[in-house]
């Protein structure tokens, strides 16, 4: 794999890496025919993020040496991030960035060609890995919100940086409501402030959800990481008083990536407990962040406090994709998103649902990789062709190779055992 990024796109790439670093500690880099994919998942598997940079994003893009299979690799987020650490430096001094991966050297080489002929070469060691792919499909989500990222950025601004989760829902008069989520335990003594933001429908480009639907997700992975203040600094700069807008941005979430690129952000969601998909897309790149949402019981409790948010609709039982039901929750707190690692076997290629191919081994050599590898990016914008089917498998699905495609997977049932 070899690719060359030039000009302002270096900074865009850098920003994407920054926002991925909000999520996971390892970066999965996978050259595909339709672009370079960067993916990560957090340690609790409750959040997954991927960017796909189209070949046009690059000055030069070659997924694989002709005649060879494309390599994919896994590297430490820290080491990749360190290459792009200073966005200001990228903007000011870097003219082009060349990323190459070849099997012989066992190194991912990132070269920054800077002004005055300075060339910085980073040789990053990597691990071979399977393809990382979360099972999600925006087209299957019944509810869609789309707004300029700026609107959503302003919407989350009033929420304290330390706040973990927010509930997003549609309130009376089809107003979009964001509310700080409080765990039920937070009852007697220490009550937290509840903040609620209510935005009119007219600020949204698309609002396809009925009144009363709501999901709760982790805000931190979505927004800008706040600077960490371990104690109240005595010499805090005067701008602290000026509000949250003055905060520096050491690391950025998808939201600020979208804001800086002036893109619209779409939120696809379903019933509580099902993953919510945050997507951005333009002609050169697309990004998807998949965040777990809290299951309904919690949400229901939360609902008691909220006259504005009506009780959410019951989960859609008659959903057309029963196989997707299986990955939506974890054993403990329904936080997990099912992940899969695919090794590109043709056995899974035709799968509309999760039929399991008996012969599949987790570490078998990569099958013939082709443009099918792009399964990361089901197209999401209305009017574009329907998304491709998932062709990958869940973790552990090989442990139960024999059951029928339609039946519930015993492995997955084990995962969700704790659910009431």
């Amino acid at each position: 794999m070899k690719c060359l990024v030039t000009g302002g796109n270096v900074k865009v790439l850098g920003k994407a890496v920054h926002s991925l670093s909000r999520i996971g500690d390892e970066l999965y880099l996978e050259p595909l025919e339709d672009g370079l994919s960067l993916r990560t998942v957090n340690s609790s598997r409750s959040a997954y993020a991927c960017f796909l940079f189209a070949p046009l994003f690059f000055q030069q893009y070659q997924a694989a040496t002709p005649g060879q299979d494309p390599l994919r690799c896994k590297i430490l987020m820290k080491s990749f991030l360190s290459v792009f650490r200073s966005l200001a430096m990228l903007e000011k001094t870097v003219e082009k960035c060349c990323i190459s991966l070849n099997g012989r050297s066992s190194r991912l080489v990132v070269q920054l060609h800077c002004k005055y002929g300075v060339r910085k070469t980073h040789n990053l060691s990597f691990q071979d890995c399977e393809s990382l792919q979360a099972v999600f499909d925006p087209a299957l989500c019944p509810h869609v919100l789309r707004a300029p990222a700026r609107v959503l950025g302003e919407a989350v601004l009033p929420f304290p940086p330390a706040l973990a989760e927010v509930t997003l829902g549609i309130g009376r008069g089809r107003r979009v409501i964001l509310r700080s989520y409080q765990e039920e335990e937070a009852d007697s003594t220490v009550k937290a402030m509840v903040t609620e933001m209510s935005i009119g429908e007219e600020d949204f480009q698309q609002l396809q959800a009925q009144e009363g639907v709501a999901i709760t997700f982790c805000l931190k992975e979505f927004r800008v990481r706040p600077p960490v203040h371990t104690h109240h600094p005595v010499h805090s700069p005067p701008c602290r008083a000026q509000g949250l807008t003055a905060l520096p941005l050491p690391s950025q979430g998808l939201l600020s990536f979208a804001e800086s690129a002036n893109l619209s952000l779409s939120i696809y969601f379903d019933a509580p407990g099902r993953p919510a998909i945050f997507a951005i897309e333009d002609s050169l790149l697309e990004g998807h962040f998949v965040l777990a949402t809290l299951l309904e019981p919690d949400l229901h409790a939360q609902d008691l406090h909220s006259p504005q948010l009506q009780r959410p609709a019951p989960p859609l039982q008659a959903h057309s994709t029963p196989h997707l039901d299986d990955f939506a929750f974890d054993d403990i707190d329904s936080y997990m998103i099912a992940m899969e690692t695919s090794v590109g076997s043709e056995g899974s290629r035709a799968l509309p649902s999760i039929s399991l191919s008996p012969g599949l081994q987790p570490h078998c050599s990569p099958g013939p990789c082709s443009e099918e590898e792009d399964d990361a990016e089901p197209s999401t914008v209305p009017g574009t062709p329907p998304p491709k089917k998932f062709r990958s498998l869940f973790f552990g699905s090989i442990l139960a190779p024999a059951h029928s495609p339609q039946g519930p997977s015993p492995v997955l049932a084990e995962d969700s055992e704790g659910e009431g």
Partner: protein, 280 residues
């Protein structure tokens, strides 16, 4: 018990936000006392606060365009609420560029001070942020602990130097010692001093001026050069200094020898009194 108030003027809103920021820096939790004419932020002398107490007072008419309140009864027309000051300041910080701000006492499963902010947005659409700040309504029998503290007769009163300067001095001293000695005389001199086994550091301020004695008897027999001192916890002094934004119109320091130091500040139309007990 009812309380409802509204701010529409941007300058008033900013000013009120600044007050709340200052309070949040001075006290983790405080009592908000609401009376028909005044608002007070009170930190009473409690063990939890390490003996520090605070009394901040502002005239409601200078801030609010509407102000309605109904206390416990006609003769006790006051409301006392305990709240986390950080919550209030954070809520108000989101009110920049707000069209209007309303504060209400509500009961949403628990008593709340609800701050509701109507934001201006680019597309004339309406955006509303509401913050429900949990409060504890303080019962009548505990009110007497929350009255304006009486200022004890000071041995020396002196005007304070620029607070920022004082803060940077105290900040450095904090690195060396936990105890700081404030001493002043009637000749306009104020010293900040620390003493350890290895080092003694004193910063001298001169020509600060002394306010005229209130009743004019106790301090007359005083030698103007003689220093009156008080030992305080340097962190408490620093917390007070760090909470100050800008320089107040008037800042006085009253020292009661080896008992306490009392700071009396006037910021525009907000007055702040802050008491730090002496270390024994």
């Amino acid at each position: 018990m009812k309380f409802r108030a509204k701010i529409v003027d941007a300058a008033c809103l900013n000013h009120f936000t600044r007050v709340s920021t200052m309070i949040a820096k001075l006290a983790k939790t405080c009592t908000l006392r609401i009376s028909p004419d005044k608002l007070n932020f009170v930190l009473s002398d409690k063990v939890a606060s390490g003996g520090v107490s605070m009394w901040c007072e502002l005239e409601q008419a200078n801030f609010f365009s509407e102000f309605q309140m109904e206390g416990v009864s006609a003769e006790n027309n006051e409301i006392y609420l305990e709240l986390t000051s950080e919550n209030l300041s954070r809520a108000l910080k989101t009110a920049q560029n707000a069209r209007a701000l309303k504060v209400k006492l509500t009961n949403k499963h628990f008593p709340c001070l609800t701050v509701s902010i109507e934001l201006l947005s680019v597309s004339s659409s309406s955006r509303v942020v509401t913050h429900d700040i949990p409060v504890k309504v303080i019962p009548r029998r505990l009110w007497r602990d929350l009255q304006e503290p009486t200022v004890p007769a000071a041995d020396v009163s002196i005007y304070l130097p620029v607070l920022k300067t004082m803060k940077s001095v105290v900040e450095k001293m904090k690195n060396i010692s936990n105890h700081l000695i404030i001493e002043a005389n009637l000749n306009g001199e104020l010293n900040l001093r620390i003493e350890t086994e290895l080092v003694s550091v004193t910063t001298h301020f001169k020509d600060l001026g002394n306010p005229p004695p209130a009743s004019g008897h106790a301090s007359q027999d005083h030698d103007p050069e003689r220093m009156t001192e008080v030992h305080v916890d340097v962190r408490k002094l620093l917390q007070f200094l760090a909470g100050q934004q800008g320089n107040p119109a008037k800042a006085t320091c009253n020292i009661v020898s080896n008992k306490m130091v009392h700071f009396d500040l006037l910021h525009e139309d907000v007055s702040l009194q802050y008491f730090i007990p002496a270390l024994s």
